[in-house]
Amino acid sequence: MDGICLELAGKVPAEGSRLDEADEHDLIRRAQHGDRAAFEVLVRLYDREVLRLAIKVVGSPDEAQDLYQEAFLKVYRSIAHFRFDSRFSTWLYRVVMNVCLDHLRRQKNRNEVQAPESEEGQPEFFQTLADEKPGLDPERSVQGKEIRQRIGTALSQLTPRERMVFELKHYQGMRLRAIGELCGTTEETAKNCLFRATQKLRLALVDLA
């Protein structure tokens, strides 16, 4: 459990000074007794990282905003059940993971019916990819765009759980044990997901590498 805590705690942005554990526990207890101000302080301690993760998972800031709200509302409703047997950050991120997983599952189902298109006619996910400097080298720019589209398509072919594990491993650099705990599964399952994800991505992108 500590593995997760260290990784996440290091990434939690401090608004003002970071709280020590005793202060955080005090805030949690107050929030558990309905102190809204205490809950809002907890939100501000962790919400930048939650939003950043949500944006990475769903690609679109608008959808990430929905996930942000849904996750913190779930935390608000269930904070009374938090028993201090893990770090608050671990518990919070587990809620966020579940919300993200549910979202990816819904999105996958929706895409099977009809792929959502943005105004430019590209799936929304591609909006998160970098724009190269198009003025400098048009051929390279077109190539870059094509590569990013291929990456987006390849990532969208992963199952929601594979996508989450891959996201947390490749882009967040988390340990598999921590990923397993956050996603409410075992390290072995996380390993298998990473194995399948990398295999699928290699097959889809090897000609570009």
């Binding site: 979202h103 490749h170 390993k191």
Partner: protein, 316 residues
């Protein structure tokens, strides 16, 4: 190490998840096997390629917007029915002497609500898929207690809607918005379900049924009251495609006066103005005159003044 083990360990090697001993064995195999060496190089190339995807950082404005929306949702939570239950339940349970009374009250309340809500439960008697038929008598969902809606998937081509929910077990309902029982479920979901993603999917599902009064009312409600800005905007776009009526007119006027988000508010005003001008609807002139004279936004004042001028000529 065999090539099969190499393959199994490849991802773990790339992401530094192998123990030192496994790592050494892996590297020794790579030195001796040309095929696996090629595979490793290809995989490294793909790994590098995947880093071309750029990390999007949340802007401070987005974070502020998220917090404000969350605080509004928390207000709703705190002062709505959930907050009410949360506030009195611990007090009652906190006194040992009153626990028995509280339990009896809750049991009685449960029976009472069950009795009162029976007609509503009956509305859920919808034809069901085979996997669901095992859980409840086929075609009858009476008295099924729905815990959670996990998916609303409308098919825009056929008009079919698939709803997945958790009751005693996971269930899938299929039907269309023309089915009053599906419709009731969706109308309740768009108005009060917690999950914004489900509400968004529900909006898509209801779009086809906007001629139905309950659907129309729910879409207008979502446009005005949904806690999520994007959802209000989507609902606003949807209601613009509906037949004009006094309810829609009043809702757009209310949005023009009370909508918190400037983008949604201006879209509502544009919808009002466009309708008034295109349909030559002079009943809206007093409202447009009021906005033209008093609104704090210059664009709104100019747009409304022009619309009034188009409608009543130089008399304005």
């Amino acid at each position: 190490m065999e090539c099969k083990t190499f393959d199994e360990n490849l991802a773990l090697y790339l992401y530094d998840e192998l123990e030192a001993e496994e790592r050494s064995a892996f590297e020794a195999h790579v030195k001796s096997c040309q095929n696996c060496r090629t595979l490793l190089e290809q995989s490294r190339g793909v790994q590098t390629l995947l880093h071309q995807r750029v990390t999007v950082e949340p802007t401070p404005e987005l974070l502020v917007e998220c917090r404000e929306a969350l605080y509004r949702a928390l207000d709703h939570e705190q002062f709505g029915w959930r907050g009410l239950i949360r506030s009195w339940l611990p007090v009652v349970i906190g006194f040992p002497a009153s626990r028995a009374v509280a339990t009896a009250t809750l049991v009685a309340l449960g029976f009472g609500l069950g009795w009162v809500l029976r007609p509503h439960a009956n509305r859920l008697s919808i034809p069901v898929k085979a996997d669901m038929a095992q859980a409840v008598p086929a075609g009858d969902l009476s008295n099924v207690h729905i815990n959670d809606i996990t998916q609303v998937a409308p098919d825009s081509q056929t008009g079919a809607i698939r709803i997945t929910l958790n009751a005693e077990r996971k269930m899938t309902l299929e039907g269309s918005v023309d089915d009053p029982r599906i419709r009731d479920l969706l109308v309740n979901a768009i108005k009060g379900y917690d999950n914004a993603g489900i509400r968004r999917d529900t909006l898509d599902a209801l779009r086809a049924g906007s001629r139905q009064p309950s659907v129309r009312e729910a879409l207008i409600y979502a446009m005005q009251h949904d806690p999520n800005t994007g959802m209000r905007l989507e609902a606003l776009k949807t209601v613009q495609g509906m037949e004009w009526g006094a309810d829609l007119s009043q809702a757009l006027i209310d949005s023009a006066d009370h909508e918190q988000n400037p983008g949604v508010r201006l879209t509502a005003i544009d919808a009002l103005v466009n309708h008034a001008v295109q349909a030559k609807d002079r009943t809206l002139v007093p409202e447009l005159q009021r906005l033209a004279g008093n609104d704090s936004n210059r664009y709104v004042r100019i747009t409304c003044a022009k619309a009034v001028h188009d409608l009543v000529g130089d008399g304005y």
